[in-house]
Amino acid sequence: MTRPMRGIVHTLRDLARSRPAIRLWMGVLALIVLVALFGPLMAPQDAFAINPLAVLQGPSAAHPLGTDEFGRDLLSRLLIGIRPTMLVALGATAIAAAGGTTLGIFAAYGPNWLGTTIMRGVDVMLSFPPILLALLAVGFWKSGVSSLIIVIGILYIPHFARVAQAATLQVVRQEFIEAEHSMGAPYRRVVATGILPNILSPLVVQATLTLAAAILLESGLSFLGLGIVPPEPSWGQMIGTARGYLGQNPLYVLWPSACLALTVLAINIIGDALRDHLDPRLRQV
C-alpha cells in the first residue's frame, strides 16, 4: 500500500476506535458506498420496466417500497439512483476542494495583487445564486453526470476559496510560519507542512457541507430536468418527480428523501469527528 493510502486507513481505524458512536455512522456510510458501487447488481427488478397497471402503488410483496408513476419498482430505482448522486457529490466536492483550497492559499499567502484579484473574482461568483449559474451552464452545455460534476464543482470553488483564504490568513500570521521562513524553508514546504495541516479543520467541515450542498444542487437540477436525464434515475430527480404525486403515493417521496437525509447526516457527523481527530489538540488521549 502506498504511504498516503496507509495513512488514510490508519486514520479511519483510529477514528473508529476513538468513539463508539462513530462506528455506527461509519457503518451507515460504508453501506451507502457499497450500494453506490454494487447497486445495479442488488436491484431485485428491472428499474426501467414500465407497468401501466401498477402505477403509484404502496409497498407490496412484489414491490417492497411500492412503484412510481410508470409502475417501475422504487427499490430498484433507489438502488440505482444513488450512483449518479454520489458520483456528482464526491466529484464536485473534490474539484471544489482542490480548486478552492489552492486559490485560497494563493490569495492569502501569495502577493497582494494576486490575492485581491482572486478574492474579487470569488466575490463576484458568490453574488450569484449557485442554482442560477448551474442552470445557465447545464442549459448551454449538456446534461449528464460528468458535466454536473464539473459545473457543481466549479460553483463551489468560491466557498472553499473563502474558507481557505480566511484560515490561511490566520495561520500565516503565526510565529511558526515565520520560523519556517527563518530556517530557509521553500514556499512549497511552508504550504505543505505549515499551512495545509493547520487549515484542515475548517476545510473538512466545508467539505461535508459542500457534499451535502452538491447533493441538493444535483437534486434540484435533476428536479428541473437539467441534471440526470430520465429514464435514468437519481435521488434528487426522484424527489422532484415524487412531489407531484404526494397525494396519490406519499411514500414515494419519503424513500429518496430519507435516503438523502441519512447520507448527508452520516457525512456530516463523520466529517465533524474527522476534524476533531485530525487536530492533535482536540484528540482525546
Binding site: 510565529e175 511558526f176 515565520e178 521553500p186 507542512t193 495541516p197
Partner: protein, 561 residues
Amino acid sequence: MLKIEGLSIAFRTAEGLRPAVTDMSFEIAPGEILGLVGESGSGKTLMSLAVMGLLPPNAVVTAGRVLDQGTDLLGLPPEALRRRRGAEISMIFQDPIASLDPLYRCGDQVIEAILLHEPIGRRAARARALELFERVRLPDPARAMRAYPHELSGGQCQRVMIAMAIVCRPRIIIADEPTTALDVTVQRQVLDLLRELNREVGAAILLITHDLGVIAQTADRVAVMYQGRMVEEARTADLFARPQQPYTRGLIGAMPQGRQAPGQGLTTVAAAAAGTTRAIALRTPPDPSAPPLLEIRDLDKSYRVPGGLVPGARTVRAVDGVSLSIWPRETLGLVGESGCGKTTLSRLIMRLSEPDSGQMLFAGRDITHLSPKAMVPLRREISMVFQNPYGSLNPRQTVEELVGAPLIIHGEGDAASRQARVARLVEHVGLPRAALSRYPHEFSGGQRQRIVIARALALNPRLVICDEAVSALDLSVQAQVLNLLADLQAEHDLAYLFISHDLSVVEHVSDRIAVMQKGRIVETGPAEAIFAAPRDPYTRALLSAVPRIPGQSARSEETAR
C-alpha cells in the same frame, strides 16, 4: 478587612474533583497591600476569582470562607454579590487595553461604573470621573475622557482601569498582574500610583503577580503560593532577607541579579530544594580583536502607517540608522521598551523583511541584498528563538518533525542520521526521549521553549537571535532556560543577540548591551559599564525603573568577587 479561611477550590473533571487550591488562609487589613506570588498554574488567579464570586463553571469551592467584614461572600446569593462587585470589591486586570470596552469612550465607561453604584446624576458623575482622571494623573484628563481605549497607551489605559476600580472607594481591590503587560518605566509609575492612592482610599489590596520585583517594590506583606498551597507568608523585607522555605529560596535565587558569574548559573527551585546551586559550563570569552561575526551599519527601515481620518500615510521609522557588531562567542543584549524597533531589527537581520538602506555583514560577507536563494546557506549560520513558545511551534507536527525541520530543509544527511541527530538534540536540551513522538500542546511553556532551542541548534549555527526568548516563561523556568542557553553557548561557541525588555535578564546574560529607543541605539557598551554608569538619560530612566529586591546590590557585588 478581607479574611480568607481555609479556602479550597477544586476542578470538576471526568475522574472526579481535582484540587487546584488547598487550604489557603490569610487576611488583609485596610490600607495594606498583600502580594500573592506564584507561578502560572499555582492557583493564584483562581483564588482571586473565588473572592469576586466569578469562578468558572467547572470550579467549585470545596471548603473555607471568604470574609468581608464578617460576611461570608461565598454564601451570598449571586445578586447580592453582583451589587458588591465594583462598589465594595473591585478588580484591576492584567491587560488594560483588552479589559476596556473598545466601543465606548473611556470617560463614559467610568461614568457608567459610577451611575451603576451611586444615586447621583450624570453631570455629577462626569465631574467625579474627570476628577478621578486627574487623581490617577492621566495627562490631559479632558482628552482621556473623550478618548477610546485604542487611542491611549497601555499605561494610560491601566490608569483608567485604576480610576474605575477606586471610583466607589471599594474596601477590597484585587489587582491581577496589573503591570505585566506594561513597560518597565510605565510599570513603575502605575505601581507608585496604586500605593499612593491606597493610602487615601484605604482598601485592602490583593496584588497578584509572578514578578518578585513588583512585590518587593509595592507589597507590605507577601504570600507565596506553590501548587495550590500557601508555602510561606512574611513581611516583604523579611521574606527577601530570610526566605524560610526551599521553594521561596529557589524563586528568589531564580531571579537574575547582576552579571552572570563564570560557571555559576541561576538557582532553580529543584536545586534549592536539594540545597545545591546550578553550575554552568565555563566558556571561552569573546575575543574583541577578532573580526566581528555580524556587523550592521546604518540600517534603516520605515513603515507607512495609514493616517486614519487624516489623509495621507504617516511614516514610522522603526529602525533608524542602527549600527551594531557582534563578535563570535559574545552575547549582545538589546534592550528597549515595546515598540522601540527591537523585533523589526531582528527580522531585518534574519532577512524576513527588507531594509530601506544600510548594510549587514555576516562573517565579512555582505548579506543585505542577497536573493532568497543565496540566503539559504546562510540560514544555517543564523537561527532564531522566538518569543512565544506557544506560537512558534507548528501544532500539527511532532517534536521529531519540528526539531528535524532545519535538517530536512537543508537536505542534511539521510533519514536515519537525521533521526539520530534529532534524538541527541532533544536529549541535549533536557527533554526525555519519549518527547519525540509527542505534539507541542502536550508540553509546558518551558519545555516548548526547549524544543524551540533544540530546533535553533539543529544545524550548529554561529549566531542565535533570542527575541524575548524567556519573556513568556515563569521565573523558575526562565532560570532553567537561561542556564541552558549559557551551557549551550559554552559548548557550541555560540554568539547570542539577546533581545529583551527585561533589564535584569539582559544584565545577567550579556557581555555588551545596546539600548534602543524609538528605532535608534542610544547607548552601547560593556554590560558592567552601562549598569554602573549609564550615560544616556533614557538608559538612566530605564535602569531606575527596574524593580529591585532588597539587598540586591550587595548580592551582585558578592557574585562579582
